[in-house]
């Protein structure tokens, strides 16, 4: 339980604190398909380069604290009429490696949560020159 509480506090602080600048790779070493999990302070953060762009989220699933960033990058079925299937968000969906809960890498929102209350913390990633830079 103590770990769970700490996780929550860190999540909030992570969103609010003045962010540090961290070079995590050279762009040439970080092509589409690459991911890197870095440790910044007490936080593990996964940085992804997908077909949809650069993203970074906390490496902890809000469900049971699984290492979220070891999950699959994919798309998913978008809301549709019964019996219809519309694929979307390709490269923007991270599926937790344990239970398959889906998160939108761009917003951190849990796609399984109709009310969008549950989310994983997200961080800004930018390309500066030939460096991939994480702000966290």
């Amino acid at each position: 339980m103590a770990n769970g509480s700490l996780r929550l506090i860190w999540g909030r602080v992570g969103m609010e604190r003045a962010r540090g600048r961290h070079v995590i790779a050279r762009l040439g070493e970080f092509p589409v398909g690459a991911r890197k999990i870095v440790r910044i302070g007490g936080r593990e953060i996964g940085v992804f380069h997908t077909t949809a762009g650069l993203f970074a989220v906390r490496n902890s699933c809000p469900h049971q604290a699984a290492p979220l960033c070891l999950g699959t990058i994919t798309g998913t079925t978008l809301p549709s009429a019964p019996g219809e299937y519309v694929w979307g968000l390709e490269g923007r969906v991270l599926r937790c490696p344990w239970h398959g809960w889906e998160f939108d890498l761009a917003t951190g929102a849990g796609l399984y949560d109709p009310y969008r209350h549950e989310r994983v913390a997200t961080y800004e990633v930018r390309i500066e020159g030939d460096e991939v830079v994480l702000f966290a």
């Binding site: 469900h63 998913t76 079925t77 978008l78 809301p79 549709s80 009429a81 019964p82 019996g83 219809e84 299937y85 519309v86 239970h99 398959g100 809960w101 889906e102 849990g110 796609l111 399984y112 949560d113 109709p114």
Partner: protein, 381 residues
């Protein structure tokens, strides 16, 4: 507890008086037909001849019923005939005894039509039973309008079922569509959608009721297969209800038919919490299979599924009973039912003793009044 002058006295042998001001809507009452030849005038000649020769063909599952038979032993009419076949006795033993304002009649000994191999015969039987019900129960013996009835349909032929709903669904005392839980497929299957479309169009809930499990084309009566004892058969009747609710939600029936309500009659109560919790948990992992669900499955269940109380679970610890009502959100989902005149009848006063008055009012009256709406006449109660 003192008995005030306004409370009615219980009949001999009854321990509980109905509290002043308490009224019920009984969501599961079984009238009987005293003699099946009464259906003959309502059947086309070809089926009338068949019935004369071989009966309804509603063979039993072969599972031996316990010693008591189907009925309460005190419900047989003095002049003879099946329990539940005498409107006056039914009124005395149920409506007057328990202050039942409206009795929802769910037919008697006819549910098995939903498992007959011939859909044309099944549809004809349903229509004949509906016509007889309207003439006998809803017209001849219904001066005060307290009898409301289900409309039987044969799920083997959903298009014919939809036509039957179009034919009689607007009758003022027909308040829901009814067929067996022992269907060939889970209820979310698209083959059944014409029934839902017609029911929604006529503003009628769809109710399903167990009892024909193991008959004819229904398949084995439990999820694990065939059982040998009635106690096993009866206890496992909640299984199909679970599969039906999961199917209805996951297949998007309530997305496609947003005004439809489905009543799981006599299938038990506490399993509903298990289904809501397990389905919600699985939705989080498997939502991508059912992208048309944009709310948690339990939200669709709370809005669209109702369960009737009898035979209500009786945990030895009364606090667990109250917890159960909370866990299934009984304030919204539960309808009082007695199942009169069957052997597993629940006395509502005994079954819900100790339940807080406001919750009891929801279960005994308001939930059903909201479900059946204007057809009950005085919704405000």
């Amino acid at each position: 507890m003192t008995v005030s002058a306004t409370e009615s006295q219980p009949p001999p042998g009854a321990r509980r008086a109905v509290p002043a001001g308490l009224e019920l809507i009984d969501a599961d009452v079984h009238p009987s037909i005293s003699d099946y030849t009464q259906l003959h005038p309502y059947l086309p000649e070809v089926w009338r001849r068949h019935v004369r020769k071989s009966g309804f063909g509603g063979a039993s599952s072969g599972i031996l019923r316990g010693q008591g038979g189907l009925y309460r032993a005190d419900a047989a009419p003095p002049e003879g005939g099946e329990p539940g076949s005498d409107p006056a006795l039914l009124r005395e033993q149920l409506l007057e005894r328990y202050h039942v304002r409206y009795a929802i009649l769910n037919g008697g000994n006819i549910l098995g039509l939903g498992t007959l191999p011939d859909p044309d015969f099944a549809s004809a039987l349903a229509a004949a039973y509906n016509d007889w019900t309207i003439d006998f129960w809803l017209t001849k013996h219904n001066a005060d309008g307290r009898f409301k009835s289900a409309l039987f349909v044969a799920p083997q032929d959903p298009l014919a079922a939809a036509r039957e709903i179009d034919r009689l669904g607007d009758h003022p005392h027909i308040v829901q569509v009814l067929f067996t839980t022992a269907t060939e497929s889970p209820l979310g299957h698209r083959r059944y959608w014409p029934i839902y479309e017609a029911a929604e169009h006529h503003g009628l809930p769809v109710a399903v009721h167990p009892g024909a499990e193991g008959r004819a084309i229904s398949g084995p009566p439990t999820a694990a297969g065939w059982v040998s004892k009635y106690i096993e058969w009866h206890t496992c009747l909640s299984q199909r209800a679970q599969a039906h609710v999961v199917s209805l939600v996951c297949q998007g029936v309530f997305v496609r038919f947003p005004k439809l309500k489905v009543v799981m009659v006599e299938c038990g109560v506490s399993w509903l919490s298990h289904v809501m919790w397990r389905l919600d948990k699985n939705y989080k992992a498997l939502r991508n299979e059912v992208p048309w669900l944009t709310e948690l499955p339990s939200e669709y269940i709370r809005r669209h599924i109702r369960v009737t109380s009898q035979p209500v679970e009786e945990p030895p610890d009364r606090a667990q009973f109250l917890s159960m009502l909370e866990m299934v959100d009984a304030r919204q989902t539960l309808l009082l039912a007695t199942d009169y005149p069957h052997w597993d009848f629940d006395d509502p006063l005994a079954a819900f003793a100790g339940v807080p008055d406001d919750l009891k009012r929801r279960i005994f009256f308001e939930n059903a009044a909201e479900l059946y709406g204007a057809k009950l006449g005085t919704v405000a109660g």
